[in-house]
């Protein structure tokens, strides 16, 4: 099968510091790919480059079988995107915001309104349809963003931390939804810090560390390299094994004692 997204040797620098060092991977249609890595590893940067928000310094990206530079912006109408930090136009109501996003995708007003109201109903925030986004809790904003990324029935989803701020019940709904979207043939590319979710949900896991892909494969395969959970694997691959010592150090600092004496 031909990959829906193919990235090869992607390079990006900020202020002369390399953020992505020749990142290469492929995503196939109908896959759920978990993209994980420590803070600052370059996860969001990768997604931003794919979406054309920032320019890359090198490498090739093919999406839907063609290099992205060959498209005009229309390819973005096949993408659903949830940004990392729940940035919204807060003075708008949920209705106005969703209507705006829907119309940017070229959808009809009544279609957008119907869809978004039903989707909000399903996520349990229907009564806030006419409420200002500024008054929404973090979880509610996240739901609005998830809805806005699905309004136009896209083929591939890029979700940056989609579970951010959601309560346990909503997380379950979203997890279930991801499974159903997969059955519909959608491709899902998401990042998260919640390891057991990623472990259970993803067909394939990509681990990014310091601008490089350090692991790429189904969890079953990856497990063979290091026993145990994804969390342990993650720690090993990102070279992190001192959590106990660091916690100790933190506590000492809080008490005002010197870590070196301890």
């Amino acid at each position: 099968m031909e990959p829906i997204l193919e990235i090869s040797k992607l390079i990006k620098q900020f202020d002369g510091k390399p953020v992505l060092k020749e990142v290469s991977f492929s995503v196939y249609p109908g896959e759920i790919v978990g993209y994980i890595g420590p803070n600052g590893a370059g996860k969001s940067t990768t997604v931003k480059i794919i979406l054309g928000m920032i320019d890359r310094d090198g490498g090739d990206i093919r999406l839907f079988g063609q290099p992205i530079e060959s498209y005009d912006v229309s390819y973005k109408s096949r993408i659903g995107y949830v940004p990392e930090n729940a940035d919204l136009y807060e003075t708008l109501t949920a209705k106005e915001y969703l209507l705006f996003i829907g119309e940017l995708y070229g959808m009809e007003e009544n279609v957008v309104l119907k869809k978004s109201e039903q989707m909000m109903d399903a996520l349990g925030i229907k009564e806030s349809f006419n409420g200002r986004l500024a008054s929404f809790s973090k979880g509610m904003r996240q739901k609005v963003l998830i809805i806005s990324s699905l309004l136009h029935d896209p083929d591939i989803l890029f979700w940056d931390e989609p579970l951010n701020g959601l309560d346990a019940n909503s997380v379950q709904v979203i997890k279930e939804l991801l499974g159903k979207l997969k059955k519909e043939g959608k491709t899902i590319f998401y990042s998260s810090h919640v390891m057991d979710t990623v472990e259970k949900l993803s067909d394939r896991i990509l681990i990014l560390n310091d601008g490089e892909v350090v692991a790429n494969g189904p969890f079953e395969e990856l497990k063979e390299e290091a026993d145990g959970t994804l969390e342990q694997l993650f720690n090993t691959l990102t070279g992190f094994d001192q959590h106990a010592a660091l916690a100790e150090q933190f506590l000492l600092a809080m008490k005002g004692e010197d870590a070196d004496d301890a």
Partner: protein
């Protein structure tokens, strides 16, 4: 094309500006902009501007209205009022002189408003995440942003120009009237085009931290150029005969770069007939306009594609400087206040939006004194020291910044962070206000004042040291009063919005009257009444001592 029909159908209930833009929608379409998308973005932005962001519940002191009303448009009449003074121009019979003064004024006002108040919108990065990820091309987004600012700018320009435009019809005929109206519109678009060009170039050339600094410097230098240009334009004319108000113009090749003059040339032709100078200048105006339009068309998407660079941050070590520490320990009398002092100092150091607002006004506060010093020195009169009074008031120009400063201080990009003030154990508003006022005094006003005062002392001698100190103390008191008057909520707790761009323009107007009177009293009394400076010093030290300890304390609490 189908979309246009849709757009027109909607327009029956649409606001005026949207209907006007619908009229020129073909231009956008021709430039490759997706007009219906652009209109949608524009409509949304204007809706948002009309709404105030409700701050944290319980921490805003009143003034929370949910009604939709765009503050910007309803405050424009103030500018019309200010520019009524331009009507004196019609006393002169020289059209070129009339419109040179008019266009210089127009350009300087529009440009400084644009730089200080609308740069934040032009350089906003949020749209890239929320709109740029949808099938909207950069050109459309760029055009939407430019139009958004353009609407405000055109309204602003017309508000300023209204008196002159109106009376031109009456005094100079219909053709001149139409001409001045169209050229005023063009002038505001010029300001926008030039600014966008500068930003696009800088965004393209630079990266990271340096980019942010250079943006700030570019704002300062643009303002300096504007003020200098204003000064140079003034030099072209000489009043030959004050009684008949006859003016002579000495236009030379060196003045070719003063582009406001290009706008004036058509009027020269209209009144005096063709001449080489006027033809060249009119040609320059046309070429310049076409050039700017081309640059704009070429640049709109470039700005968007490079804007994301503004968000990259580098970890630079920051330290509390010596002055900051010194001032904190000398001026702040309790630990809470000290903490707030450092907070205010640091936040204004790192926040780009704050600098964007404030820096242009620093430039104009400094340029006037420098230009005047220069003029006095080069005017050929050897005895500068004989009339020190002309020098003594120069440092007072620093006070021009105070209204802008007190407005800027209310806003922050990170306005949401203000929940932190709810956590502090005791009533924090008064110490917070005191601390921020002190921080601004030491960080921004005092250095500027001292710089100008040193310049003055250099020319007049140290005999006037006491007067200079008194001036600084007066500045401090006025800053306190203005802070008390204009800062309703907590500092750094409001969100930037286009509609509030000219917030404080009324304040500035009201501000000038008493400040001017007090300044005159200060200068005159110190020059003519013996020992007055000692009395004033005592009074001012007393007042300053009071506000630095007790200022901003709420009376209700006691």
């Amino acid at each position: 094309m189908m979309r246009d029909i849709l757009g027109l159908k909607k327009s029956e209930k649409a606001p005026v500006y949207l209907r006007l833009i619908d009229l020129i929608s073909f231009i956008y379409t021709r430039l490759g902009v997706n007009y219906s998308q652009m209109r949608l973005i524009l409509e949304l932005k204007m809706t948002m501007d009309g709404r105030r962001d409700s701050a944290l519940p319980g921490f805003e002191s009143g003034r929370r209205s949910d009604q939709e009303k765009n503050q910007f448009f309803s405050s424009l009449w103030v500018y019309t009022l200010i520019s009524l003074f331009l009507l004196f121009l019609f006393a002169y019979d020289n059209w070129v002189f009339q419109y040179t003064t008019y266009f210089s004024f127009l350009f300087i006002m529009t440009f400084s408003t644009l730089l200080a108040n609308f740069s934040t919108i032009l350089l906003d990065t949020k749209d890239a995440t929320l709109i740029g990820t949808k099938p909207v091309d950069r050109k459309t987004l760029g055009a939407a942003k430019a139009t958004h600012v353009g609407i405000y700018l055109v309204a602003f320009t017309l508000a300023i120009g209204l008196p002159v435009i109106g009376f031109t019809f009456y005094f100079n005929g219909i053709i001149a009237g139409i001409l001045v109206f169209l050229l005023s519109l063009l002038a505001s678009l010029w300001c926008l085009g030039l600014t966008l060009f500068v930003y696009a170039t800088i965004l393209k050339q630079f990266d990271g931290e340096r980019l942010k600094n250079i943006i700030a410097y570019s704002q300062i230098s643009l303002s300096v150029f504007m003020v200098l240009g204003y000064y140079l334009v003034g030099q072209i004319f000489q009043v030959i005969d004050p009684e008949t108000l006859l003016v002579e113009m000495n236009l030379s090749v060196g003045h070719v770069l003063l582009f406001p003059m290009w706008f004036v040339a058509p009027f020269g032709m209209l009144q005096e007939g063709l001449s080489t100078t006027y033809i060249i200048y009119t040609a320059l105006l046309i070429i310049g306009t076409v050039g700017l339009a081309l640059l704009f068309n070429w640049n709109t998407d470039k700005i968007e594609s490079n804007l994301q660079k503004m968000d990259s941050s580098s970890t630079k070590q920051t330290k509390r400087s010596f002055i900051e520490r010194m001032a904190a320990s000398v001026l702040c009398f309790d630990p809470l206040e000290k903490a707030y002092f450092h907070f205010g100092w640091q936040i204004t150091k790192t926040e780009r939006e704050f600098k964007t607002r404030l820096y242009p006004s620093i430039a104009s506060a400094l340029v006037f004194p420098v230009v005047m010093t220069y003029t006095t020195l080069t005017s050929g009169e050897p005895g500068v020291t004989q009339s020190p009074v002309t020098f003594l008031y120069l440092p007072y120009f620093t006070m021009l910044m105070i209204p802008v400063l007190t407005v800027s201080i209310q806003f922050s990009k990170n306005y949401k962070g203000n929940w932190v003030f709810n956590l502090t154990p005791n009533d924090s508003k008064a110490p917070f206000m005191r601390a921020v006022t002190k921080a601004m005094l030491i960080k921004i006003l005092a250095p500027l004042y001292i710089a100008v005062a040193t310049l003055v002392l250099y020319f007049t001698g140290f005999a006037y040291l006491l007067q200079m100190i008194n001036g600084l103390l007066l500045t401090s008191v006025i800053l306190f009063l203005e802070m008390k008057r204009s800062v309703a909520a907590l500092p750094f707790s409001r969100k930037y919005a286009a509609s509030e761009a000219n917030l404080g323009c009324m304040g500035t107007l009201i501000f000038f009257v008493p400040v001017f009177i007090i300044s005159v009293i200060m200068i005159v009394s110190q020059s003519f009444i013996p020992n007055a400076e000692w009395v004033i010093l005592l009074i001012l030290v007393g007042v300053n001592g009071w506000w630095m300890r007790k200022g901003f304390n709420s009376k209700a609490k006691k």
